[in-house]
Symmetry: C2
């Protein structure tokens, strides 16, 4: 049986998981790939650290550049994360004619265009299934499974930490800060949670998904990003009363105006399957113009779930009859010369529906004043509720669901509303997506 | 740009949909595949029939064998359905070195072993993504996306007609026969509904999924199949009271005893995502030993949704640098010489939990007698409810949820229970799957 030699950069959670899965499923993977996949060397920053995997038969080093240069190694698996030295190491591996598999979403989102070009020039594969939604084969679905479709839009729960926090807030009525602390204690959230809860991690993934969907170069800087740290139990409850759940969604959409790329808290009708994706799980809905809506669900993180995607990429490479050339599928699912720069809309140009919550003085005429301003700005109201104050003299809450509106118009209207004397606090606004 | 010439056998719903999607998305598909895919000829039984697609530029014939023999044609797309002449035509196309794409689940389930061998011998591709779950790229997910995993089990809603009927029964409390008539009027069910509601269609698909999961030759005759025509609104209601929904599931599972392949009505906890897949939609849950549970959801039928899968297969073939050889992935995702015959369990050997409903005389001691017989047969009870008769003298209903039990033992116990004087009718029994 053909032996394929792999070098691993990074031996942390995903690296260790990859070694473990390759070991426990070795026979099975050989039956599928027709190859014996052997990790012959691995690098780690601190060689003395305890590993989650056995490392017998693997040469360990703290010099990843030695692995890149090893002429025996045909596939480099980069799981160190971060932009440098990962980027330089990958570029060198590609230039030496090695295939590269990575789980590094920040790297692909920020430097994918350059890296894919280098892979293409060297006729090797740069694969990155594990960079998005962990073990869910979403890159493969979009690049291959849905290749007949023009993609209208996609929407994903693509950060498990954020989804865990929102699920707990919904299930237990807890406040954000408390759930975050619990999540940190459980290991679901990092000590510095910004990357997850402010949506940066999701934005990296969304940027890649948008390019896969619409055939355009990666453009991470144009993703609008809004976190979940300001979501309150009050809004979770009111949303549910209206038949919605709040999820931290990455949305990419192609309209006649241009492409939308945005990550933000979103009200989704509770009837949608994705509204019921809870805890640390991930899911992506992709709407093709032939297939209609499809959904892909699974673990978005974790050692072995992510390893599942890493190894699937390795198997794809191994299955090629000639390992000296790349796989048949272009990196973003479109021939490189068929990628098109598309206009990307700023968030002010985006049209969505909105959930609005206004803290108002409990006195006559307030509702009339609010609704008049909305009407004057051409904004239709789908639903409205006034929640009376719990004690006399406290604020009432006005909850509104608007129809589709260009964000710019809503901002104008809200500025007028907030200037009313009877409005106590800045409005809370959360975008609403019907996902139909 | 490279031109790939396609011949279409069958120009009905899926054939027409394929032409329509290739036309409306031609530019998009060319950007993805690097090829111009042209349907140059198509066959239909009745050439005078009205088509759902334009046929300009397509040579029409009622002689499919002429298409097979056309040396210009590189890919044959078989969408006529049925076993013959589809099988002979495909075998001839393969022997002439043509790639074949089919949506024909009955053919693959019954003759796939022979057909795949012929494709392999001729070094061409026989692709069948459209045969299972319409537009959902489930074959690709299992063959490639999850290749790192040993699959523990899979469970799917893989017949839209059946799921539509069960959803309507649940939503409206209707009886099976009435919903079936409505479904027929709406075009969701055939005039002869047996194929769908008795589970034969689902069994074809399940058989293929099981081989993809476990790397074994197709063995359609060993799939246990039970339809949904005996499900009553009463059982739908009682199941929901217990926190379950009834779905027509195809289940394939690998245990230390052997492989289970079975299609039957199933209680699923309402919290599971797949329990909330409603109407004509399909979904498959696949549990891998590395990735954990994953789910794939979408339209399981329809002209353009199925065409989406057909064209994805064509694009896979077109993307190969050399169209004279097949794609890199083996037909069942395992190297042909690595397929293994595995022991397949009969339904009596299968272990599941059960929902039982017993119509009993409303008198003291009945419950004690029932539970004693279950205990004597080693069957534990998870939950029990007695529903008092609505009028005096009528039957009471005893609802039981058992723990896991070998079906043989349950049958023995039920025979004893049914021989009790106080049991009025044969027991209703529906299998329960926790899908964890």
């Amino acid at each position: 049986m053909k032996v394929v030699k792999v070098g691993l950069l990074g031996l942390g959670t995903v690296g260790g998981g990859t070694v473990n899965v390759l070991t426990k499923n070795s026979q099975h993977i050989a039956r599928r790939s027709g190859c014996l996949i052997k990790v012959i060397s691995a690098s780690a920053r601190d060689l003395s650290r305890k590993r989650i995997c056995a490392t017998d038969g693997i040469q360990l080093t703290d010099r990843p550049e030695d692995i890149i240069k090893d002429p025996e190694i045909q596939i480099i698996v980069e799981l160190m994360g971060g932009e440098e030295p990962a980027k330089s190491l990958i570029l060198e591996a590609l230039s030496l004619g090695k295939h590269v598999v990575t789980a590094n979403k920040a790297l692909i989102a920020n430097h994918g265009n350059e890296l894919f070009e280098a892979a293409s020039k060297n006729k090797v594969t740069l694969a990155y299934e594990a960079a998005i939604a962990g073990g869910i084969p979403i890159v493969k679905a979009m690049r291959e499974g849905l290749s007949a479709n023009s993609i209208d839009w996609l929407a994903g729960i693509i950060n498990g930490t954020g989804n865990y926090i929102l699920t707990e807030m919904s299930d237990k009525g807890s406040v954000f800060d408390d759930v975050l602390k619990e999540a940190q204690a459980l290991g679901y959230a990092e000590a510095d949670p910004e990357y997850d809860v402010e949506g940066i991690d999701a934005a990296h993934k969304l940027c890649i998904l948008a390019s896969l969907a619409f055939g355009m170069p990666l453009n991470f800087k144009r993703v609008y990003t809004e976190g979940i740290s300001k979501i309150t139990p009050l809004d979770v409850t009111y949303a549910e009363e209206l038949g919605y759940r709040i999820k931290h969604l990455g949305v990419a959409k192609k309209t006649s105006q241009g492409v939308e790329m945005r990550v933000h808290p979103t009200l989704i009708p509770e009837k949608r399957l994705i509204a019921n994706v809870d805890g640390v799980m991930n899911a992506v809905v992709v709407k093709g113009n032939a297939v209609g809506p499809t959904l892909y669900y699974g673990a978005g993180a974790g050692a072995e779930a992510t390893a599942s995607a890493v190894i699937a990429d390795i198997v794809d490479i191994c299955r090629q009859p000639d390992l000296s050339s790349g796989t048949a599928v272009p990196a973003l699912g479109f021939s490189p010369d068929a990628l098109e720069e598309l206009p990307i809309l700023s968030i002010e140009e985006v049209e969505t529906a909105f959930y609005l919550r206004l803290s108002v003085e409990d006195k006559p005429g307030v509702m009339a004043a609010i609704t008049k301003i909305l009407a004057d700005n051409g904004i239709s109201i789908e639903a409205v509720q006034q929640k009376e104050p719990e004690q006399h003299g406290a604020n009432a809450q006005v909850i509104l669901l608007t129809d589709q509106v260009i964000e710019k118009s809503l901002i104008t209207a809200l500025a007028e509303i907030e200037s009313l004397d009877s409005i106590i606090e800045p409005a809370v606004r959360i975008r609403v997506e019907s996902l139909e």
